[in-house]
């Protein structure tokens, strides 16, 4: 079982070596002449203004939470889908119940404006 992951783990090392190698190569090959203006963050050419860590919309948190919930639900479909041919009607009924619960939750979130990006 785990042996099928061994090649993948090995390839991961290859990928990491390439990623770090590219990073390192450009460090070695590129020139290095920093100055104050160069190190400033880019704001369309004018001097950066205001706080750097601005507050951002709470909506992003909401999206993240909804994603957490629905992604777990989505992943729970996978084993069921793979076994669908064996589960047959039993599996269908189980999943119908699951989707019913999920669907009402989804409709509720929709009604409460959870998917509304703008108020």
């Amino acid at each position: 079982m785990l042996t099928s992951y061994f090649p993948i783990a090995l390839y991961f090392l290859v990928a990491v070596v390439i990623g770090v190698g590219v990073l390192g190569a450009s460090r070695v090959m590129g020139p290095r002449k920093p100055n104050a203006a160069k190190l400033q963050t880019y704001e369309c050419g004018v001097t950066p203004e205001g706080e750097v860590g601005p507050r951002f919309s709470v909506k992003f948190y909401l999206v993240a939470m909804l994603f957490m919930i629905f992604d777990v639900e989505a992943v729970s479909f996978y084993p069921w889908a793979v076994l669908m041919h064996q589960l047959r009607l039993f599996g269908l009924l189980e999943m119908a119940l699951f989707v019913l619960v999920l669907g009402i939750g989804y409709a509720y979130v929709w009604k409460r404006g959870g998917f509304q990006w703008q108020e």
Partner: protein, 327 residues
């Protein structure tokens, strides 16, 4: 030991192929976009501009590395590395041909084929989000932060529908192993019974890779360049590479799941695989040339309110078909 060497060689070949594909794709994109816009595109370096990507690569390699003041240096360097590594790594489970026999060994044409291949692939591609958000956060630049947040929100929103859109395929194939999914399509490509799933997947695939018309994170006119504003030289190129390799990966997955993978008549299977992926790549470029960018709220609403329920309904309909109608 021989097995380890074979894997490493395969891995290196794959990585080189992917990076070459990236180079060729950037050139192709510029050429094709040029044609779309009635101009020749790059045509100075090499015959017909065909060495342009090498020149670009060399130039980026020789550029100065700038880490802006106040940036978190470690995270700043980590972010593009995560993006590139995740992009390269995700391809590991995609079979690009039937197993070949060489020197008395049977060599499968993928790095590894775990029985949860598709889950693995989604897991790794979504790691790429960390690259974007960490890059945006560590730059100490407002626009980068917003760009990173936007792209994360967009990617995770479309990931849901993407995950659900392939459930129909899993039901039809009865396996999450990509090799089994390919062999289940010997007679009939899944694009026929799973056309709705395919369409949802294609939309999500474009959104997942932050490509036009879903390229809001990089909206030049409002966010400068999004999460990679502060990245220069090769670090910028790494994000760029990751984006194009991801395009190849999601296209390959689309091919594997819906277009029968490497199955095809007359030509060798590997060629078929490349042809199908290339068609998707052209589709990406075509979209970019044709469609304007979406507004952000519409983008999110489309993902949550349209794609998600349709994908769910498609999964259920497939299940009903398999368990009630077809038997």
């Amino acid at each position: 030991m021989a097995a380890v060497i074979i894997i490493v060689i395969k891995g290196l070949i794959l990585a080189v192929l992917l990076l070459t594909a990236f180079g060729v794709l950037t050139l192709t994109e510029r050429k094709v976009l040029g044609r779309f816009q009635f101009r020749p595109g790059p045509n100075r370096v090499g015959p017909g501009g065909s060495f342009q990507f090498l020149a670009d690569g060399l130039k980026l390699m020789l550029k100065e590395e700038i880490i802006p003041n106040g940036a978190d240096r470690f995270v700043f360097l980590l972010a593009p590395t995560i993006s590139l590594v995740a992009a390269l790594f995700a391809f590991a489970v995609i079979p690009w041909g039937p197993p070949i026999h060489l020197f008395g060994q049977t060599i499968p044409m993928e790095i590894g084929g775990p029985n949860v291949g598709i889950l693995f692939l989604f897991a790794i591609t979504s790691l790429g989000v960390y690259g974007l958000i960490l890059g945006g956060w560590s730059s100490q630049n407002k626009y980068s932060l917003l760009g990173g947040l936007r792209s994360s929100a967009q990617i995770i929103s479309y990931e849901l529908a993407m995950g659900l859109s392939v459930v129909g395929v899993l039901i039809a194939a009865g396996s999450a192993d990509l090799n089994n999914i390919v062999s289940a399509q010997t007679n009939l490509w899944f694009i026929v019974p799973q056309i709705i799933g395919f369409l949802i997947y294609v939309v999500c695939m474009v959104a997942e890779t932050n490509r036009a018309p879903f390229d809001l994170p990089e909206a030049e006119n409002e966010l400068v360049a999004g999460y990679h504003t502060e990245y220069t030289g090769m670090k910028f190129a790494m994000f760029f590479m990751a984006e194009y390799i991801n395009m190849v990966t999601v296209s390959s997955l689309a091919t594997t799941l819906f277009l029968g993978g490497w199955h095809g008549p007359w030509l060798p299977p590997e060629i078929w695989f490349i042809i199908k992926v290339a068609a998707f790549m052209f589709f990406f470029i075509w979209l970019r040339a044709t469609l304007p960018r979406l507004r952000y709220d519409r983008l999110m609403a489309f993902g949550w309110k349209v794609l998600l329920p349709v994908a769910l309904a498609n999964a259920l309909a497939t299940a009903v078909w398999v368990s009630v109608v077809a038997r």
